[in-house]
């Protein structure tokens, strides 16, 4: 059961503002989904290893070499607000 308080807690972690009405709605829906997911508790998984990856046996490494893509302008153009070579945000102080 996911109560409204839990939804508000998750909303805060997710950085999504949620109205009271929406929290109520989502708590009902998430509870229903989690009730279904509780099916997984039927299984004994004590000795099962979790899967991280299938065919990659080792980590993948590469040389740490800088490549210059020269895309600053295009990237900044996609930002809702920028100034010179920077993303612009509200005052934080």
């Amino acid at each position: 059961m996911v109560d409204r308080k839990t939804v508000e807690y998750i909303a805060n972690l997710s950085k999504i503002e949620t109205s009271e009405e929406e929290s109520y709605f989502l708590s009902t829906q998430l509870s229903k989904i989690l009730d279904y997911i509780d099916k997984l508790k039927e299984l004994d998984v004590k000795d099962v290893k979790p899967i991280r990856h299938f065919y990659l046996k080792n980590n993948v490494y590469r040389e740490d070499v800088v490549e210059n893509y020269n895309l600053n302008k295009e990237i900044l153009k996609n930002s809702p607000k920028s100034l010179e070579n920077f993303f612009k945000i509200p005052n934080v102080l």
Partner: protein, 477 residues
Amino acid sequence: MGNINLINLSGFEIAKNIRENLITSKEVYQFFYNRIKELDSKLNSFIEVYEEAERKPDGDSQLKGLPIAIKDNICIKGKKITCASKILANHISVYDATVIKKLKEAGLKIIGTTNMDEFAFGSSTENSCYFTTKNPWNTKKVPGGSSGGSAAAVALRLVPFALGSDTGGSIRQPASFCGVVGFKPTYGLVSRYGLIAFASSLDQIGPITTNFIDCAYLLNIISGKDKNDSTSADIEKIDFTKYLNEDIKGLKIGIPKEYFKEGLDKEIKESLKEVIEVFKKNGAIILDINLPHTEYAVATYYILASSEASSNLARYDGIKYGFRKEEDSLSKLYTSTRRDGFGLEAKRRIFLGTFSLSSGYYDAYYLRALKVRTLIRLDFENAFKEVDAILTPTSPTPAFDIGEKIDDPLSMYLSDIYTIPANLAGLPAVSFPCGFTKNNLPIGAQLIGKEFCDGILIRLGFSYQCKTDYHKRIPEL
């Protein structure tokens, strides 16, 4: 362009006509462009259509000169990409995804971007921030999702083929609803560089085509190791066209009883029996097998996919991309931007994922799901000791009504019950048309293969299509 009827030709045949100078690449492009302009208002399968390809294709391949449509979550340099989400509104890709680079190098032309569920969250395209795509066989029905735009466009021959992405069935389920071939490659066969991430351990890009010949040629173009995707597999390049071989004598096909239980539509069940008969006649050996953990796949998937999504979608904060809700404080800017920018299904999944990963719930949900994923994988490993491929229905029902499941997320999730296991196990799987219901809706069959044995699925599918003509039917609007 004289007497060539492009609608009834495969992409491969159209490209052959171009090579033999019976038609030009420009005429082909114009033909499909006009067809989209004439018919897509009835389907809404495209988000953007490009009037002309930017430049003459300089590369070469057996598909040179053909147009292709791209799902709106794959980056095309200089073009708008939104994942059908308000939060990415008007975002312009600054680079080409590896698959796009490869398509251009093979001489193909991108004709436009296709509709999808927001960030690929859904099975109907109803979660798009733009509009719902309609099923070309019956416009009251959904085309499936999330690659519903790509599947609907290919079914109506608005384009010879398209690319989609598949995290839990997003290529195969719409392919089955629309009567086309949708292929999800082995995880790692195709680079994900430039595919906007939903669930990184499950996502794969794949082709949506009308037949297995085009499917094999497209896989040849888009597959291969990529230094920009460290999870792309470092294996020898496979030529999938050498699997376009009718002979399937002695190949063993497993039928898992768990996929034919209660909940499967009767007409689909009957249709699958006919598919089995065709494979038998072509020389395959049919065996009963068990995949005992199948019933846990949907629950496992929704924990893992949502957890990965909640993490991947953290980057949409109103600073770097698309939509921003202006506020006085930075913290309020984040929360308001994400409140207004994400649709309801995206919020549901971010919440579910954040919950599963949060302190106190991690072991009970996320870690447990990872362990069940192992059990599901082991089911397949055991089955593949005996068989070369597994045959199942793609979806428990044919296309459902628009609006039918949108308010009941769990019932929507369960429509992917047969497609999800292949993603969890990292295996190749394909849906192909195998019949029609009495209401004239397409039925899809699914083949699942061993890791990196994608070619076997091409061979089986090609052999099936040599004996049947369901894939040649075109919806009349």
